[in-house]
């Protein structure tokens, strides 16, 4: 048991932090909710931050730490699947990576665009293909998510079969989403804490009212434990740990998103305040891999058969 960051991990996170600094605040945006930055994406790739899992002394926990950290940015970056799942399938797969469950290929896909690699995971195995223009139907322009999203119109004739265990890939997928959710939850909480500490009504900061303090404190407790369960699941490689980590993350996301906007009052309904950049990613993550119920069933199966 050693829960402090080691020297390597601290260094990697410091590098990520420095690289991400120019992207730490959200530019004002009024069309669409998703913020992306090609520049940021390129910098991450160039510096190898999405490949840390394969570096022996770094491994999956460091990859999860990087994913958590990047999710705190207002910009949506396809890091989770690339950093925590791709190395298990084929480290050379072109990014972004869109993971989709077999039988649910009509689902809304995050980061789907021409050139993206779509990975279909299911009982019959793990297969991938490169998404071409004809296979993609855009989602509505003012889609209410802070991820870029689109639909697949169908599957291509030819796909590449990967000789990997779909159960293992699903496990890593859960870890990736839990780590991403941990960062989103952390950033959303910080953003709300800042607002309610400054905003005054009745002559005092909103954050001095206990109705708010207690709900925010509970949010801190679950946010903190989402982080720890995600890191532990990354470390252990255990199927039950991964399912519990994502279950807990999806529970947490469901619990806090509504409150957070509520606490900002009218400002919480605007695009001016960046809160939605985290919460409207979290909202979509609550649906990932079948949502809380599916994670619960997977965890129960792994724990008790």
């Amino acid at each position: 048991m050693q829960l402090a960051l080691n020297e390597d991990q601290r260094q990697v996170l410091d590098f990520v932090e420095a690289l991400a600094r120019p992207f730490a605040s959200a530019p004002l945006h009024d069309a669409g909710l998703a913020l992306e930055s090609e520049e940021l994406d390129a910098a991450l790739v160039e510096n190898g931050f999405l490949d840390v899992m394969t570096v022996e002394e770094l491994g999956p926990v460091t990859a999860a730490l990087v994913v958590e950290k990047l999710a705190r940015l207002p910009f949506a970056v396809e890091a989770a699947a690339s950093a925590l799942v791709r190395p298990l399938i084929d480290p050379e797969l072109p990014r972004p990576l869109c993971l989709v469950e077999e039988g649910r290929t009509s689902a809304l896909l995050r980061f789907l665009r021409p050139g993206a690699t779509v990975v279909v995971v299911g009982p019959s195995g793990v297969r991938s293909f490169t998404a071409s223009e004809e296979l993609i139907a855009p989602a509505q322009e003012d889609t209410l998510y802070a991820y870029p999203v689109a639909f697949l119109t169908g599957l291509p004739e030819a796909t590449i079969a990967h000789d990997v265990d779909p159960v293992e890939i699903t496990r890593a997928w859960r870890v990736a989403m839990a780590a991403e959710a941990a960062g989103l939850l952390g950033a959303a909480l910080t953003s709300v804490v800042t607002y309610v500490s400054e905003r005054k009504q009745f002559g005092r900061p909103l954050a001095t009212f206990q109705a708010m303090r207690h709900r925010l404190a509970e949010a801190q407790v679950v946010t903190n434990t989402v982080y720890w369960l995600a890191m532990r699941a990354a470390a252990s490689g255990d199927y039950a740990d991964a399912a519990m980590a994502l279950l807990h993350a999806q529970e947490a996301a469901k619990r806090v998103c509504y409150d957070y906007h509520q606490f900002l009052g009218g400002m919480g309904m605007t695009l001016e305040h960046p809160l939605h950049l985290w919460t409207y990613r979290l909202k979509l993550l609550t649906a990932e891999l079948g949502g809380r119920g599916a994670q619960g069933l997977a965890a129960a199966e792994a724990l008790w058969g």
């Binding site: 050693q2 080691n6 909480l189 001095t208 679950v222 369960l229 980590a245």
Partner: protein, 381 residues
Amino acid sequence: MQFEWTEEQDAFRRRIRDFLQANLPGDWEKFSEHGPASPALTAFARTFCVKLAEVGLLFPHWTQEMGGEGLGPWEQQILSEEMWIAGEPRGGQYMNVNWIGPTLEKYGTPEQKARYLEPITRGESLWCQGFSEPDAGSDLASLRTRAVLKDGNYVINGQKIWTSYAGLADTCFLLTRTSDDRKKGITIVLVPMDTPGITVRQIPSLIGEGDIHEVFFDDVNVPETARFGEEGQAWEIVAYSLRNERLGIPRFTLARAALDRAVMMLKQRGDFTREYVRIEAARCAALCEAAGTANYAVVQKRVDGLAIGAESSSARYATVMAERAVCEFVVEFLPEALAGASPYLKMHHQRGIVAGVAAGSAEIQLNIIASDVLELPREPR
């Protein structure tokens, strides 16, 4: 960052399990239904702890100067986990080894150490913690039990409440008021429970026989040498002690074990096929594991010699969430467990519902998190 126990730690855990296996009676599970402070369990603990002391498992985490093995916080955690899962066969003596001993060592006079540490290390003494009063619960600093120094003696008058183990304890770690200065007017006095003027009354409760008491002090006389630390030093000393206490009870382990037991029972009768039951069970498991990791993060800070602050409140609250979820799960899906079908689950329920009240309530933990973790501006007073 890594989440595995070392081989030595695994071996240490096995050593404890083997000991428990060999030294708990066959009907232990039924027996442990008696509350941790019941006469039956207290009497049992008096022989059990002596045996623990003999094999070096009573206080292996204490420093070598104190007679321990100097094993450190992780081993203390493992020891506490195994004992708590087993229904805490040490009874109230867990307090001795978790915080009373170390606090005596740090703040006691040579005479106090000589008098009190030795029986603790033999596994033969029982303490109680006289903090709460009828009008001083969450607002502990408003306590009013008076200690007045007169002719070299403290004369104590007042009342304590909720005092665990008071019925059978040898000594009370008592908070008294020696001046009107709120926190700085509180002083610790170590009071032998057989001192004339002390009356103990048991409070019938939902959590097991003999667990909580009222303690009345009527002109109780103890020599000045019974004072622990300086006058007015209590708040500082208690802050130190409670930091150890908060980590002392790894409730999440018993909650998790109770959950596993409940699932086993549901499976046996073919009721663990319904999806919503399985999902609910998984949710409980995740909350137990969540509490576990939050607690471990605090232990890590102790290992690293860092000051432990409000994150222990966050871990405590995570534990309350887990305890609550498991208690509710059992009642909803195995109601008969609390009516005789499972002594273990009944025992868990009685201990689990206490998580959000004893040793500082859940709401107080949220207040601390809000102020000291989130650093929200303070509430107006």
